[in-house]
């Protein structure tokens, strides 16, 4: 690193420009990573919060519409609970609803999730108010407060003309398809799902159905065998994320942009070190003539690239995290997650080093003879 450090100091303008480009790419990577995590949270945080390993839907249900189209009998849930490897099974009813606050008429979109009181998918803690239990009471995501919902607020569901009361607020974000989740008793959910009103038609037959069965299973669980036996379609929790509206398209788009950023980063670093190495060919020939080994020269050049990358990526991430902190709490779905950032930083360094290695490897082909006489 003797020469590397001195060259970084000597050609500081060139290295600073290069570092600025890498730092800007790093800022973009951090922001996109935060946006991805934010969108994922907005799309499926309600599912991610569940202690669930699988969801079983109606047989033949397509993934992208599973939570909105699937209907299974609650009896089916009981049969699923008896399958080998299944430790818990509970009904999980889901429907999207438009509502208006009674106080002021402000529109509120909600994902109504019907759960059995005390089941393993029912919220077990609230920040304010009570747990799920009251017939017309809903327990809402912490983010619903951003939409102006407070404990005790009443909302009326459009078309159904049914009024629900906020009886509890969860301590964390529970959203599905970018809409706040409101947990309510399964029975109420079934009434709303069937379009009926228990107070208006108490004797009406309400189908005992749900959208899916939430399962907690161990390694003995065989989803394919279960589906064959019970005529269900079982997805892992992660696969079920794809059932959130727009989830797959959003994550795929952002992933593609990030992949391009990684590729651009590697190419930019490779291009810079290619030009830098070509400019240094004569001095490399001089050092080779002086007996410098290829290992010595490569280690020095790669050390230089590593320092540049580490510095620039470090600065870029610091700036990106600072900007991200400003974005958090705004309307933009944004979440910075340390493991994602660590992976992104490592990828940038590794791919940058791949680019730099591809460039500086040409050091090994420099002929020391060119240091002599008029051959340069």
């Amino acid at each position: 690193m003797f020469l590397a450090l001195r060259e970084l100091r000597f050609a500081r303008t060139r290295f600073a420009l290069m570092g600025a480009v890498i730092a800007l790419v790093s800022v973009l990577v951090v922001l996109l990573s935060g946006l991805s995590a934010g969108l994922v949270n907005d799309g499926v945080s309600g599912l991610k919060q569940l202690p669930v390993t699988h969801f079983s839907f109606e047989g033949g249900t397509k993934t992208d519409a599973a939570f909105t189209r699937s209907i299974i009998d609650v009896e089916q849930v009981d049969k699923l609970a008896e399958q080998p490897g299944v430790t818990d099974a509970a009904p999980y009813g889901l429907m999207l609803a438009n509502a208006k606050k009674d106080d002021g008429g402000q529109p509120v979109d909600l994902t109504l999730v019907g759960v059995e009181e005390g089941s393993f998918v029912a919220p077990s803690a609230v920040a304010e108010g009570d747990l799920v239990g009251q017939a017309d009471g809903i327990v809402v995501s912490s983010t619903a407060k951003d939409d102006g919902l407070e404990l005790g607020d009443k909302v009326t569901l459009e078309r159904l003309d049914r009024t629900l009361t906020v009886v509890g607020i969860l301590p964390e974000q529970h959203t599905f398809g970018h809409v706040d989740i409101a947990y309510l008793p399964l029975v109420t959910w079934q009434e709303l799902h069937s379009g009926g009103d228990v107070t208006a038609a108490a004797d009406a037959e309400v189908p005992d159905v749900t959208t899916a069965a939430a399962l907690r299973a161990d390694g003995d669980f065989d989803p394919a065998a279960t589906d064959a036996a019970l005529g269900t379609t079982t997805l892992t929790l992660k696969a079920a994320f794809g059932a959130s509206p727009g989830y797959t398209a959003e994550t795929a788009t952002l992933m593609l942009i990030q992949v391009f950023l990684y590729a651009i980063s590697a190419l930019v670093v490779g291009a810079f070190f290619t030009v830098w190495t070509i400019q240094r060919r004569h001095e490399i020939a001089v050092m080779r003539a002086m007996g410098a080994t290829r290992k010595f020269l490569l280690a020095d050049s790669l050390g230089q690239a590593a320092l540049l990358l580490a510095g620039a990526i470090g600065i870029g991430f610091a700036v990106g995290i600072g900007l991200g902190a400003l974005l958090q709490g705004t309307a933009m779905p944004f979440a910075l997650q340390a493991p994602d950032l660590a992976i992104a930083a490592a990828l940038l360094v590794v791919l940058g080093m791949v680019g730099a290695t591809a460039a500086v490897i040409r050091i090994t082909s420099v002929d020391p003879l060119t240091a002599l006489g008029g051959q340069r």
Partner: protein, 234 residues
């Protein structure tokens, strides 16, 4: 230096032949060259462009393997040495003085000398490692130890290049047209300095040059014509 050191051969060439190209375009760069350079001796080789002077340096510096003949540097037969042995020989036993100094642009004068030690894998405490400040002082460049090459004149760059070549106490110094970019006064200064340092440090030096004005400072002068090394030109 004692007499035994003075008479020790640091470079021996016996019947060395080197050809470039093939077929009708074959050029004989070195034609059965014999040469013996002893420690403490500055030998100059003059000759027109294309006569084979640079090829002679390349062969002596273990940068090119001749077609035939024997080359020994400080007693080591290059014919039976592999690439890593040759590289080690260049690092530890051979010092190069290039045209215009060929200094590294990013390094100060002091660091140019330290780099030679780094390349040789020597620590400053190594018994063969010279003190860079003393060497800069010896070539009258200690006052510009912290300057970089672009802040030096051609003569000053060449002085630093000479000091760098002595950093690892080499047995053989190979000097390539040291006065090519210098005026007459500076050329005398540089070659005089080179002769003085060769005598002081007891290294044998082979210098190729176009410049007949500086030959007075050399112990021996040979002439290269069409690849053949001939009798002294003076």
């Amino acid at each position: 230096m004692n007499d035994s050191t003075q008479s020790r051969s640091v470079l021996e060439l016996e019947g060395v032949t080197l050809r470039h190209g093939d077929g009708d375009s074959t050029v004989t760069a070195l034609d059965a060259v014999n040469l013996d350079v002893t420690a403490g001796e500055l030998v100059a080789v003059v000759g027109p462009s294309g006569s084979g002077k640079s090829s002679l340096l390349a062969v002596a510096g273990a940068l090119v393997t001749p077609e035939s003949g024997t080359v020994r540097v400080d007693g080591v037969d290059l014919g039976s040495s592999d690439a890593s042995t040759k590289a080690r020989l260049r690092r530890e036993r051979i010092g190069f003085v290039f045209q215009s100094g060929n200094l590294i642009p990013a390094l100060t004068c002091l660091d140019q000398l330290r780099l030679a030690l780094k390349i040789a894998g020597m620590s400053p405490d190594d018994e063969r490692a010279r003190d860079p400040r003393e060497l800069l002082d010896a070539v009258s460049m200690s006052h510009k130890a912290d300057r970089r090459p672009h802040e030096l004149s051609g003569g000053e760059r060449q002085r630093v290049g000479i000091a760098r070549a002595f950093m690892t106490a080499p047995a053989l110094l190979l000097v390539d047209e040291p006065t090519a970019a210098l005026d007459r006064a500076r050329s005398h200064e540089v070659v005089e300095l080179l002769a003085k340092e060769v005598a002081t440090f007891g290294a044998g030096a082979l210098m190729v040059t176009h410049d007949h004005d500086v030959l007075e400072h050399c112990d021996r002068v040979l002439e290269m014509v069409d690849g053949s090394l001939g009798a002294p030109a003076r």
